[in-house]
């Protein structure tokens, strides 16, 4: 169980990112944390892996206060939490398979079983056969999937996904969301931090919304039947961007 109790986080600049935030996440739950950029979603994740310590309050995982944890025990904690980073943090000069291998080696996986596990993971995240590709050879969606594959490689009981759909078009976002749901159904506690409420508003999930560093609401959403159609029908930001680029090119040509 994850327990945030009266957590306040103030950065050295004096900025209060989280202000007296309290909530618990039970094993096997799927929790979406929403809020505008800079509201403290990523900070929650960083507190969870002891990348940061709270200024006030406590963060506990299975009753263990992370602030009291010794530095040498932090790697053990981090191995318990799969983390999908907002900026992917995929090592660029390593192939997808090598990136996943790192996570498996760190978790102490048997080296003989690693290739089979990588295949299994790539199938699970729907990028089979892309293990030998470098990150630069992947699309944004594929990169996110690779990042998820690395995060869940060693079967961590908790998965924190920080803006996993942030840079993706609506359709891919939905696929990623469904993938996270699938991982959750397999028993992993999933916490997804996102500013995109479109998808989660139509799904059955616990929804914690942050505003100005405080919890604005914490409720259960009910899944809409037509969610996938509704989401697909919305123009994706990527399509818009492509149109703008084409327009700019046309203008340049005309000018020439």
């Amino acid at each position: 169980m994850i327990d945030f109790s009266h957590v306040t986080k103030t950065f050295p600049t004096g900025e209060v990112v989280l202000d007296d935030v309290s909530f618990t996440v039970n094993p096997g739950e799927f929790v979406c944390i929403t809020g505008k950029s800079g509201v403290g979603k990523t900070t929650l994740g960083r507190l969870l892996i002891r990348d940061l310590s709270p200024t006030k309050g406590t963060v506990k995982i299975d009753g263990e206060d992370l602030a009291l944890m010794k530095t040498r025990d932090i790697p053990r904690l981090r191995r318990k939490i799969g983390f999908v980073f907002q900026d992917y943090k995929i090592i660029l000069d390593k192939t997808v398979a090598e990136n996943i291998t790192y996570a498996l080696e760190i978790a102490g996986y048997d080296s003989k079983k690693i290739p089979a596990r990588i295949d299994q993971l790539l199938h699970l995240v729907d990028i089979p056969g892309k293990g030998d590709l470098f990150p630069s050879q992947l699309s944004g969606g594929e990169l996110q999937r690779a990042s998820i594959a690395r995060a869940i490689a060693a079967d961590p009981p908790i998965l924190f996904a920080d803006e996993p759909t942030g840079n993706l078009d609506k359709e891919t976002s939905l696929e990623i969301f469904n993938l996270l749901k699938k991982i959750n159904e397999a028993g992993t506690t999933v916490i997804m931090a996102t500013h995109d409420v479109t998808i989660i508003n139509f799904h059955h999930a616990r929804h914690i919304h942050l505003e100005k560093g405080k919890i604005a609401f914490d409720r259960e959403n009910v899944k809409s039947q037509n969610v996938e159609e509704e989401v697909k029908e919305q123009p994706s930001p990527k399509d818009d961007e492509v149109k703008i680029i084409h327009k700019k090119r046309k203008i340049k040509k005309i000018k020439k």
Binding site: D51, R79, F83, R150
Partner: protein, 286 residues
């Protein structure tokens, strides 16, 4: 180890410069070790063959000679004392020179160490049968000065060699530390990611320690090989000069022992450098 090889392939010039510096250090270490052993051998030869020659007066009797030999055999530090009569000396001289000079009978004493020279000399000074120079001095020859001079030179070589090896070892350590630090700082993002994934410090630093170990081992092998080639090349020059004291060509087993020592020294040096550079960086990164 695969990661270490990959790191070397990625930045070959850094690897070459590290290996080059370690090779030079190891070459000097090898040469110093060989010179040190050779000078020790030469010194030992002089020390274990410290001979005092006492020239005897004409007309000494066998009883007098036996009395002196008995006296010498009970003196501390005497390894061996033999009597060479005038006739024996003549035969020996004829063998080497083919002449017929005026010769005296001698007692040749082999001392255990040059330190015993004084006590042996005082026994001979008291003996009546030992010949006397026109100035009234007993005719006793001993190479104490040569040994003292040789000891002085050997010690000087050892001190100079050790200073040079120490300085070069320091340069090698610094070179490896700088190169590993450069490489590791170039992979800061990767290290941060690995830490966030839960990697222990040892997992992160392992490839860098292995890489510096490879520098050490390669440097030792190149240094040893260069020293061996140099030794074989100079064998025709050295053999006639010190061939009676040291066996030429130097037996391969000796060279293998030297290689073993160099590999151990170089590997330890590289491991310490790699560990120092990588731990320092990894501890500082989050």
């Amino acid at each position: 180890m695969q990661t270490a090889f990959k790191n070397i392939r990625r930045s070959p010039y850094q690897a070459i410069s590290a290996i080059f510096v370690v090779s030079i250090t190891m070459f000097i270490v090898a040469m110093f070790a060989l010179v040190s052993v050779a000078s020790q051998e030469i010194l030992l030869t002089f020390e274990t063959k410290p001979q005092i020659i006492a020239y005897l007066k004409d007309g000494h009797t066998p009883d007098q000679v036996n009395e002196l030999l008995t006296q010498l055999s009970t003196t501390q530090g005497v390894k061996k004392a033999i009597y060479i009569s005038k006739q024996d000396a003549l035969e020996l001289y004829k063998e080497s020179v083919g002449n017929d000079p005026m010769l005296l009978g001698t007692v040749e004493i082999t001392a255990q160490t040059p330190k015993s020279f004084n006590s042996i000399s005082s026994v001979l000074e008291r003996s009546e049968i030992v010949s006397t120079t026109p100035q009234g001095k007993k005719e006793i020859d001993f190479p104490q000065d040569v040994v003292a001079e040789l000891t002085k030179w050997t010690n000087a070589i050892r001190v100079a060699g050790l200073i040079m090896v120490a300085a070069l070892t320091l340069v090698s350590i610094l070179t490896i530390v700088i190169i590993i630090s450069m490489k590791i700082s170039g992979r800061k993002l990767e290290i941060t990611t690995l830490k966030l994934l839960g990697a222990r410090n040892f997992y992160i630093i392992k490839p860098y320690i292995q890489e510096s170990f490879l520098y050490g081992v390669s440097g030792a092998l190149i240094g040893w090989l260069t020293a061996y080639i140099a030794l074989l090349y100079s064998t025709p020059f050295l053999s006639p000069r010190i061939g009676t004291i040291i066996t030429f060509p130097v037996p391969f087993i000796i060279m293998l022992i030297l290689l073993g020592g160099m590999l151990t020294f170089s590997a330890a040096l590289a491991l310490v450098s790699g560990f120092f550079a990588s731990t320092r960086f990894v501890k500082r990164s989050k």
